[in-house]
Symmetry: C2
Subunit: 210 residues, 2 copies
DNA sequence: GACTGTGAAGCCATTCACAGCT
DNA sequence: AGCTGTGAATGGCTTCACAGTC
């Protein structure tokens, strides 16, 4: 493996390129240049080439990139050639929305179950995904070899839930609770804070007003 | 105005500090050091001090920061002293979840209405927030002086909806649709792509396996 | 003694510019 | 002629280390 340190920003962009390439392919486009990709995703052509260069030489000089090949390569880089087993914890509004989110299924994610401790919800299904009690979370993760847990519970319970996931052998956590979470070093953790995103927006808006 | 260019990463962290300070305050803590904040948010103390130093001198040498004062200052920096009017477009799962998301109300955001073009939903309310037809979006934004639009419609309609928002005089857009959106230079745009977040997770997980 | 505020150093990411291929 | 791949230059963010203050 030659790669050593790849900027996270590069990975984010690769994911965006991938979606754009998929769109191009659907429109019957077979070849694309770094300049065209840049235009499609609001970036620069040098940036696109640099990002791809971390992982190999996917293009043809004088020509460009083959849309399908390139997308296949990116999908491989992102680790999406095999599907991932996912559980969602929290059957509230956000958890329900995430469990039906088409974008997950379309990429390589199987949402296998939702867990909640509201007795009235247990046994129900959200768009085909069953709801189980949190007491079964640990065993389910272990038995079904779930690799990713999406946390959509109130902030107060977030750490507690993550601890259960970790003890059951989860490998990655996507946390939507607005709370700082601790996990062991070998567990991947990403936080999505919806309010933070709005606040960055307002900061910029308040700024430009001057 | 002395500030010229503040890293976006700093703004994101300020938002996180703010939430942590709020939590400290609720626990009765009145004074805090940069080191303690760093510990609470998984950062470094130097980073905390640098972030704050962009905007002024809020601490006392040898002592630390006053929790309440500092949080007040950050809230001011983030532009959250006045409340912002927000509309959500798309009454699907995600739009519904967002419209009831407590984190928005708790900070400075009024979710005034949800818009959708599904006739069966018009007139209903999602947790107190009314649903109106998209045909009324333009006039509502204008009349109610809505500053922020949250886009939670399918990717195909996202640009279309944003165009309406812009023409009605919106100032900021938070886009959840997995599609690259164009807006004029004077409109703030932020994208939250849920699938991208999962994909970064899988990239890192696939990496560490080697 | 403890902790902030900050210049300087170090590190990382992006942009530039061009050599190399088709 | 057109476009990729990449070393070099630039710019930006983070970390270090310490002077300044309480």
């Amino acid at each position: 493996m030659k790669s050593l340190k790849i900027p996270e920003a590069t990975i984010i962009r690769l994911s965006v390129y991938s979606r754009y390439l998929h769109q191009l392919d659907k429109n019957g486009v077979t070849t694309v240049s770094s300049g065209q990709i840049a235009e499609g995703v609001n970036g620069s052509s040098a940036q696109v080439r640099k990002d791809l260069a971390y992982f190999g030489e996917f293009g043809t000089r004088g020509v460009g990139y083959n849309v399908l090949d390139l997308n296949q390569q990116i999908i491989k880089i992102l680790g999406l050639t095999n599907r991932w087993n996912v559980v969602i914890i929290g059957a509230g509004n956000l958890g329900s929305a995430l469990s039906q989110y088409k974008g997950f299924q379309e990429r390589a994610f199987n949402v296998m179950a939702v867990f909640d401790n509201d007795i009235t919800k247990i046994g129900l299904r959200i768009g085909g995904v069953p709801i189980y009690p949190i007491s079964q979370l640990h065993d389910f993760v272990q038995k079904e070899k779930v690799q990713i847990g999406i946390v959509a519970v109130p902030a107060t319970y977030a750490q507690e839930v993550v601890d259960v996931l970790v003890s059951a052998g989860i490998k990655g956590v996507l946390n939507f609770a607005p709370r700082v979470i601790s996990v062991p070093d070998d567990i991947e953790l990403r936080n999505v804070d919806l309010a933070v995103n709005l606040e960055i927006l307002t900061y910029n808006m308040a700024m430009t007003k001057r």
